[in-house]
Amino acid sequence: MSLAKDPFNIIIGGVGGQGNVLASQILGQMLVTRGYVITIGETYGASQRGGAVMSHLRLSETDQFSPLIPEGRCDLLVSLEPVEALRILDPYGHPGVMSLINTRPIFPMDVISGNATYPEISKVITKIQALSKKTWSINATEIALDMGDPIFSNMAMLGALCATNTLPIDRQGFEETIKELLPSHKLSDNLKAFDEGSKAVQEL
């Protein structure tokens, strides 16, 4: 499939600890294997301490682009957490952006302490829809918790992303990449999470 735009700009957002960096690395490797030129910029400082994190992924058939997507230029948003999607769309969205959302919230410290409130999820999704050309929302954390460990949410989101048919990726490419990047005993669980995520989008 040819790209809708070149560069096609993807942001994977979430909260430190959700496996955002690994998801972007796997997606990037899947696309490099397909012959694309990829750049990924990652927010690292807060990656394990509950801060908001983002990976910027630039996808091109020909050129390497900067590791930061310019403002207003995100074409596809994958958010592992609902309010993080709105945080990212604020500077980076545009009327043509497509958004894939994990609906399970992670409460910020200020919400836990009572200094701030976390909005109704339905209200968040409505706003995301209003800011996006197309929106898919699934509960990837629930899929992962059903498998026994919330850590699989990111792989479920990659499966979901594959099912949106917005990118030139497939299950086989995912399997090959997992084999290359992760220890072999992790393959079956990650594939299961991927499949469940795909199914969730297909059933929407």
Binding site: V15, G17, S24, Q25, G28, Q29, V37, I38, T39, I40, G41, E42, T43, Y44, G45, A46, Q48, R49, G50, G51, A52, Q64, F65, S66, P67, L68, I69, P70, E71, G72, V83, L86, R87, L89, D90, P91, G93, H94, P95, R104, I106, F107, P108, M109, D110, V111, I112, S113, G114, A116, T117, Y118, P119, K123, K127, A130, L131, P150, E180, L181
Partner: protein, 636 residues
């Protein structure tokens, strides 16, 4: 399998900038690699350690950056190619040795990679390490892409051998911690046998003739860098504006020029050899344009050096208008971005650019302002540091003499903020909490009546706090050092250190026991588990009230992230809703409002506390703090 050690010339893979640097070193036949972890540089040694066995390398996590550089210099003297890597602060630590090593010179290729952290995203400071190349008269290379990170690192080794000098490679966060396509080249033949040629001693001394010889080497470097293929110009022959950039600025500038559609008006000169500058190349381009814009991260290093060159040659090249940090066109601090470059170009070229409709911007901004709560950094769920700071707060309150905590960098540095209950009152360099305590601990005679506490992590202790402790003991200081032993260099990615019994390559190593070391230094030592809040608070209080000498309380509990990789939860934690009195309890939501572990939440519907199953790691500490004993823990 090691991602970077694939023997697959011609293959294109996705590599992080740091991995590309490591691969470049492998292609150059590096044999000895050493570093102390520090972001954004840590993955260089991290990935080399994964290649150590296949490539027959010595890879080590050294105790600090100075020792790392010394280890690698030994390799160079013995005829083996060596690489050491560090973050900007690390170069400060190693600089004493570096500014002698430049005088003695080196033999086999020696490459020093420094990854700067513009904006201080994961640092206590923001610093431009490039100035050290100028101070030390050393060649400095700045890769701008992932491919260059690999290729220029490989080149740096031969340049080092050619000149008999260490070569500095400067990276930044958006090169080191970004990923992109890298085409692999061949891996090398076996290395020579190590031998130190004793007929050729390596002496920094005597400084004067060596300094003179060093300047001759630098002059040779000036000639060599003129023909470097990594200095690239793109644009018209006579541009209206010449943009001079390096490193991360290159791709931001390319994109800004493309988005503004000003390719015909702007010339982009990307410098990859930034000290010494390729003077002829720069002067030739300066001649062609009147207006110059500098785009670089942290200090105006290229800007000042180009201006110096201009001052020397202004009669030949004519008057110029310079824009950059000095003129306020570019920010004097913080990271740069594609927007910053774009805004600077829009102003200078009088063009405007709107990436999206105003109405969308307004709508997106309103949605974020209305619905998105701030997300402050804090300790992870189940982090032993949260329990430690809870005990500190409690002990200092019970002690009642306005005691205070002196700290440094590490995850526990978050102790300055809400997650550490605002207990940490100073943060500077590695081990500085202990050093400051060694000072404060001697001021009782000047009227200081407050007890003094310092915190320091296990890895930091070996790196920089040991001399402070020696000093404190020798000079009769009185304070309590809290040694937060989580068995990892947690903030930088859980690298092993001398206390963990493992080396960088996973081999067994002798454990340098913290308790034994501290006792040998004459401190009173006690070991406690921070998850046992009562015992920890008691031990702290006892030490606070002991007015004689140095006391070390070792708080031993593995990092929650390391533990969660090895085993499931310690406890199954639940809130008993009958016991939790909610808003009517006098505790005023102590668990969520004050302790605020991310594994807890306040359920607005029931008005009671709850445990978030997706986040709780089962440390059980919240069960200790609930005054109504409503939080229950059961061994999982």
């Amino acid at each position: 399998m090691s991602l970077i050690a694939q023997d697959a010339p011609g293959k294109t893979i996705l590599l992080m900038g740091n991995e590309a640097i490591a691969r470049g070193a492998l292609e150059a036949g590096v044999k000895v690699c050493a570093a102390y972890p520090g972001n954004p540089s840590s993955e260089i040694i991290g990935s080399l350690s994964s290649a150590a066995e296949t490539m027959d390398l010595h890879v080590e996590w050294s105790v600090n950056e100075k020792v790392a550089m010394e280890v690698v210099a030994a390799a160079s003297f013995a005829g083996l190619r060596g690489l050491c890597s560090m973050k900007q602060n690390g170069l400060n630590v190693a600089s004493d040795f570096l500014l002698n090593l430049n005088l003695s010179g080196t033999q086999a290729g020696l490459v020093i990679v420094v990854a700067d952290d513009p904006g201080g995203i994961s640092s206590t400071n923001e610093e431009d390490s490039r100035i050290f190349a100028k101070i030390g008269d050393l060649p400095l290379l700045e890769p701008a892409t992932f491919q260059e990170a690999k290729d220029m690192t490989r080149w740096a080794f031969s340049l080092s051998e050619d000149l008999g000098l260490p070569v500095m490679v400067r990276s930044v966060t958006r090169v080191s911690h970004a990923r992109g396509n890298v085409r692999l080249d061949a891996l090398p033949r076996p290395a020579p046998k190590a031998r130190f040629d004793v007929s050729r001693p390596r002496l920094a001394f005597p400084p004067f003739p060596n300094h003179k010889a060093l300047h001759q080497k630098l002059d040779r470097a000036r000639t060599l860098v003129e023909s470097s293929p990594y200095n690239i110009y793109r644009g018209p022959d006579k541009p209206e504006l010449l943009l001079i950039t390096s490193g991360s600025g290159w791709m931001y500038s390319l994109e800004a020029v493309m988005n503004l559609g000003v390719q015909d008006r702007v010339g982009l000169l990307k410098l990859s050899t930034t000290w010494p500058l390729p003077a002829n190349l720069v002067l030739n381009h300066l001649k062609q344009a009147e207006t110059i814009l500098f785009v670089e991260e942290v200090d105006p290093f290229i800007e000042n050096n180009v201006k110096e060159l201009f001052a020397q040659h202004c009669m030949e090249i004519g008057l110029k208008r310079f824009y950059g940090k000095a003129a306020g066109t570019m920010p004097s601090a913080g990271e740069i971005s594609p927007e910053i470059v774009s805004v600077a170009l829009q102003g200078l070229l009088k063009v405007s650019y709107k990436p999206r409709p105003e109405e969308y911007t307004k709508k997106a901004h309103e949605a974020a302002a209305e619905l998105v709560p701030a997300r402050a950094l804090g300790f992870c769920a189940g982090c032993p540091h949260r329990a430690t700071y809870w005990a500190i707060k409690r002990a200092l309150t019970l002690d009642g003499r306005e005691g205070f905590v002196l700290g440094d960098i590490g995850c526990y540095g978050l102790g300055w903020g809400p997650s550490g209950f605002f207990q940490m009152k100073t943060i500077h360099a590695m081990g500085s909490g202990a050093g400051l305590a060694a000072g404060f601990g001697q001021f009782e005679r000047f009227g200081l009546s407050q007890p003094v506490l310092a915190v320091c992590g296990d890895s930091t202790f070996y790196h920089a706090a040991m001399p402070a402790l020696v000093n404190a003991r020798y000079n009769g200081s009185n304070f309590v050092l809290l040694l937060l032993d989580n068995s990892a260099t947690a903030m930088t990615g859980f690298q092993p250190h001398p206390g963990t019994g493992r080396t960088a390559t996973g081999k067994e190593a002798p454990v340098l026991d913290l308790k034994v070391i501290c006792e040998a230094l004459g401190a009173k030592v006690h070991v406690t588990d921070p998850f046992d809040l009562a015992a920890t608070t008691d031990a702290m209080l006892k030490f606070l009230q002991d007015r004689e000498g140095v006391k070390v309380l070792i708080l031993k509990r593995e990092c929650a992230l390391v533990r969660s990789k090895k085993q499931k939860k310690l406890y199954q934690v639940e809130v008993n809703h009958e016991r939790c009195l909610g808003e009517t309890c006098g505790c005023n939501r102590l668990c969520t409002r004050v302790f605020k572990c991310p594994g807890l939440y306040w359920d607005r519907v029931t008005g009671k506390a709850g445990i978030d199953e997706a986040i709780c790691t089962g440390c059980g500490v919240c069960a200790e703090i609930c005054p109504a004993s409503a939080i229950r823990k059961e061994v999982a």
